[in-house]
């Protein structure tokens, strides 16, 4: 067992440290940091906007670069949060709470240094768990039947809808809408076109990248135009000397960082939860543990490093279900999964056996990427922040141009650009209506798998629904779903009667 793990790590390192591995990892984390700093562009938008560039690389390199973009945004997001109180990504919104007050007190350098360290430690712990847990899950996953996969996928969809915090019904509407969009194209079993309305381009289904870019990229641009105010830069110089924390601060941060990493590791691997929720929970926990809870919100170091460690750990462990089972837990992971499939790789237990170099190379590249972020972030923070000074009037036409050429370059297809336009409208419309977009994307990616496993399970069971309850894994998933839906209903009734009483 131990020999096996060591062997895996060495194999992974040999891929990740190869010149091309390092090169694409570096490009990925730099691009990720830059897009993470720009407000409104989160990991989801960054990965979908930059995907076209990675499309033309070999699968391993493309994945290393995309993963770098993904966790790079988390680093970049916290930089914007701390210095300007503008969360670049949703998961770094918590960093505003105590990071910005620290910056106002002239301690922005210390805050940035400590978040970088916390992010690195959190990320590293997440990767360690990934290395040890992934082989174990894979050995169990070989026993999964279609019914188990069906229930686990459904669990992922329902947990995303019930945990997100907003209206559960609206989130479920979006997941089902996503599933229906995923139906468009040829039927897997009979090869007959479905809901293509005679359009030949739709036979292969709606392009995931075009859909994601429309929903997240174009819609975000439309919503942000005219609303982005130029930011005021503080004139303070960020020097290495005033970045170092005092000894007590350093020592006091160890426990919050470790607790945060623990919370993030667990929540990242579960379906439906991700970095954003992990960072909020970690913040709440630190506040409860603290002997001086009234310092929180005024620049408490624990309130900054705990959540930062937490969301970076979650970023890494989110890969566990995606890579080992092929079931992404969050919308961003759904894009990563889609990207794998576009490259002809089917994630799941067989991936590790058949392509160990890709699997372990990717995982070790996470660690190299985190190390690179640590190295490039600390001395270059001043440069990153300057990106915020680029006016939006220049930024948005450039983003549009880059995205349109990128999406066209994938298939040399003008039709894909039209798909982008259509989903730009859909994305902007749902934004206006207050409907959440991530469940739609998750439904779109998971829908075809859900259907395939459902049909296969029904075929095997001769049309009996009992399999979903009698098989232990599927049964457990069904039970959790039932509890989650029941809880959501109770919460809805309670909050509604409360709301109506106060009026």
């Amino acid at each position: 067992m131990q020999d096996q793990i060591l062997e895996n790590i060495l194999l992974g390192l040999s891929v990740a440290i190869s010149p091309s591995g390092l090169f694409y990892c570096l490009i990925g984390v730099v691009l990720g940091t830059i897009t993470g700093i720009i407000p409104g562009i989160g990991a989801l938008a960054a990965v979908s906007l930059l995907f076209p560039i990675t499309f033309h690389l070999a699968p391993t390199e493309a994945l290393i670069m995309l993963a770098g973009i993904y966790y790079g945004t988390t680093y970049g997001g916290s930089t914007a949060s701390i210095l300007l109180n503008l969360p670049g990504t949703p998961s770094s919104a918590v960093a505003c709470l105590d990071g910005y007050p620290m910056a106002q007190k002239g301690r922005g350098g210390v805050a940035l240094f400590m978040t970088t360290i916390a992010s690195f430690v959190g990320g590293s712990i997440g990767i360690l768990v990934l290395i040890f847990l992934a082989p174990m899950i894979i050995s169990v996953a070989f026993m999964f039947a279609p019914a188990d996969y069906f229930s686990l996928i459904l669990l992922g969809l329902i947990m995303t809808a019930t945990i997100s915090g907003g209206s559960v019904v609206k989130a479920l509407i979006m997941s089902v809408f996503g599933i229906l969009l995923g139906v468009v194209g040829l039927d897997v079993y009979y090869g007959s076109p479905r809901y293509t309305f005679g359009i030949l381009h739709l036979y292969e289904g709606i392009s995931l990248v075009a859909l994601a870019i429309g929903l997240f990229g174009i819609a975000e641009v439309i919503a942000s135009i005219g609303k982005m105010v130029p930011v005021e830069m503080s004139r303070d110089k960020l020097r290495m000397r005033n970045m170092l924390p005092s000894r007590e601060e350093g020592r006091g941060s160890i426990a919050p960082i470790l607790r945060g990493a623990g919370i993030g590791t667990i929540l990242g691997a579960l379906p439906g939860t991700g970095g954003t929720i992990a960072s909020y929970i970690s913040y709440a926990v630190e506040r409860r543990f603290s002997r001086t809870p009234d310092h929180f919100g005024k620049g408490a170091m624990e309130g900054l490093v705990g959540p930062e460690s937490s969301n970076n750990a979650a970023d890494q462990t989110a890969f566990i279900p995606t890579l080992t089972l092929g079931i992404p837990g969050t919308a961003t992971m759904a894009i990563m999964l889609g990207v794998l499939m576009i490259h002809g790789i089917n994630p799941g237990p067989r991936l590790v056996v058949e392509q160990p170099a890709l699997f372990w190379g990717l995982i070790m590249s996470f660690w190299i990427g985190n190390l690179l972020l640590l190295i490039i972030n600390i001395p270059m923070i001043g440069i990153w922040v300057r990106i915020l000074a680029v006016p939006y009037k220049i930024l948005y036409p450039s983003i549009l141009a880059f995205v349109c050429v990128g999406i066209y370059s994938i298939n040399n297809s003008v039709f894909d650009i039209l798909v982008v336009v259509a989903f730009g409208v859909v994305g902007y419309g749902t934004k206006l209506l207050g409907l959440p977009l991530p469940p739609l994307l998750l439904g779109f990616v998971l829908g075809p798998m859900l259907e395939e496993h459902f049909r296969r399970a029904m075929l095997l069971s001769q049309g009996s629904f009992e399999v979903f309850v009698t098989r232990p894994i599927s049964g457990a998933a069904v039970l959790i779903m039932a509890v989650a839906l029941l809880y959501a209903m109770v919460r809805f009734v309670l909050s509604n009667s409360e709301k109506n009483r106060t009026i």
Binding site: P397, K499, I503
Partner: protein, 150 residues
């Protein structure tokens, strides 16, 4: 008449789309039996679920006294950005990527009107070069940068 709330619009949309998927599926595709499903079965099931969820949202909204108002639509950015991307899609097969990019930037920059025409032209020139550098020189993609096909 009161303006419908955002949730009411969402609910009506969900019911409409769900009902359409169900009827279209019923009339066009074979459903098959549950142990051997035809192409129509799964879409019809989920279409029905979508319509039911829409109905639930519509019903709960009637009891909800806190109405979610529909925000104002930002027509100007919406129309200019969509027009720019459409123009890009139309111009690309005829003139190639570089002219299409210039067109895209000129039109989309009208969305907030913050850049003057001259500035927009400058930005278009810079972006055209950048795109050629990334997609042509670095990635070496077989896409038409400058053509004339009618």
């Amino acid at each position: 008449m009161k303006k419908p709330s955002a949730n009411t619009i969402s609910a009506v949309l969900a019911i409409t789309i769900g009902a359409f998927v169900v009827f279209y599926g019923f009339s066009t595709y074979r459903l098959g039996a549950i142990q051997r499903m035809g192409p129509g079965m799964v879409p019809v099931i989920f279409g029905a679920i979508l319509a039911i969820l829409g109905a639930i949202l519509l019903t709960t909204e009637q009891f909800n006294r806190v109405r979610t108002e529909l925000p104002v639509v930002a027509w100007r950015p919406l129309i200019w950005v969509l027009a720019a991307v459409l123009a890009f899609a139309l111009a690309l097969p005829i003139f190639g990527v570089v002219p299409a990019t210039v067109l895209l930037i000129l039109i989309s920059s009208r969305a907030d009107g913050a850049l003057s025409i001259l500035q927009a032209l400058g930005l278009a020139a810079v972006m055209a070069c950048l795109i050629w550098l990334v997609f042509g020189l670095a990635l070496n993609l077989p896409i038409p940068f400058l053509t004339w096909r009618l």
